[in-house]
């Protein structure tokens, strides 16, 4: 009897998985569509702003090229404008040029490749590990909660109750 109840609980759990999978797929798709829609500025001006927001002003503390009024930042904005007007294909190429001229400290957002990629990969890895850990922990708790008392367990409890009753009577 206990075996059949456990199996039922397991089946119930398995039936829930497609729902979770479907939800995960929907979330991933929604994020992918949203990020694709957000990338690619509409106008040259938007593109200049977007690139200059990714670069740090080389002579300021914590200011981007976009917001700084320092000479160097204004010079870099003019160069970005020239590149955009010339039709330089990608933002990364423009950023790479500025980085080559002024050094890596001009990069406000770390690269998504090489050693810098760890900045992006490690939090994602930690998140996945945490989710996996929580899933395992929840499953263990659930299995413990689903445990059904055996006949021996019932007999033990009954014997204890009988002893208690006898004590009361005496």
């Amino acid at each position: 009897m206990s075996l059949s109840i456990n199996r039922r609980a397991l089946n119930k759990q398995l039936k829930r998985w497609p729902g979770w999978l479907l939800l995960a797929v929907v979330v991933v798709l929604a994020l992918a569509i949203a990020s694709a829609g957000l990338s690619g500025p509409l106008t040259d001006s938007d593109r200049i702003d977007s690139i200059s927001q990714r670069l740090a002003c080389p002579t300021c503390d914590g200011e981007s090229v976009y917001e700084s009024q320092a000479s160097a930042a204004r010079g870099i904005r003019q160069q970005i404008k020239r590149f955009v007007e010339q039709g330089t294909p990608t933002d990364d190429q423009i950023i790479q040029y500025i980085q080559n001229q002024f050094g890596t400290k001009t990069l406000l957002v770390p690269n998504a490749s090489g050693f810098d990629a760890l900045v992006w990969a490690l939090p994602a890895f930690a998140f996945v590990v945490a989710i996996a850990g929580l899933t395992v922990a929840f499953r263990r708790w659930k299995l413990v909660a689903d445990t059904v008392p055996t006949d021996d367990d019932r007999a033990l409890v009954q014997a204890a109750l009988n002893d208690q009753e006898r004590e009361h009577e005496s």
Binding site: A72, G75, Q101
Partner: protein, 113 residues
């Protein structure tokens, strides 16, 4: 040689007499270095007045659109660059400099050619 300059920058003003001395010495030599000042983000009149008041008859390049400044990656002035006759950068000095230092850097650059 390129010297990146701004008339409102204190180290630029401080090093100017040394640059004038160096440029005058180079002008006397048959193989002396050509000296240029590059100005970005400054008032043209203020620069002219500064040179008139403090001396210096070498060419002044006005970098109106920051093209030179960005191409050289100059974030702060003053900076002095030595470029060989083939167009290769042989020395870059950040901050203020002196006649002696520039003479030494130039001699090292020529020795390395």
């Amino acid at each position: 040689m390129f010297n990146f300059f701004n008339s409102t920058c204190v180290p630029c003003v401080q090093e100017h007499p040394e640059l004038a001395k160096f440029a005058a010495e180079q002008a006397k030599l048959t193989d002396g270095a050509e000296f240029y000042t590059v100005v970005w983000d400054d008032n043209h009149g203020a620069v002219q007045k500064f040179f008139a008041d403090n001396g210096g008859s070498w060419p002044i390049l006005t970098d109106d659109d920051a093209r030179i400044e960005v191409a050289f990656g100059v974030a702060k002035v003053p900076e002095t660059w030595i470029i060989d006759p083939n167009g290769f950068v042989v020395s870059r000095h950040l901050g203020g400099t002196t006649d002696d230092q520039l003479t030494r850097l130039l001699a090292q650059a020529k020795a390395g050619l």
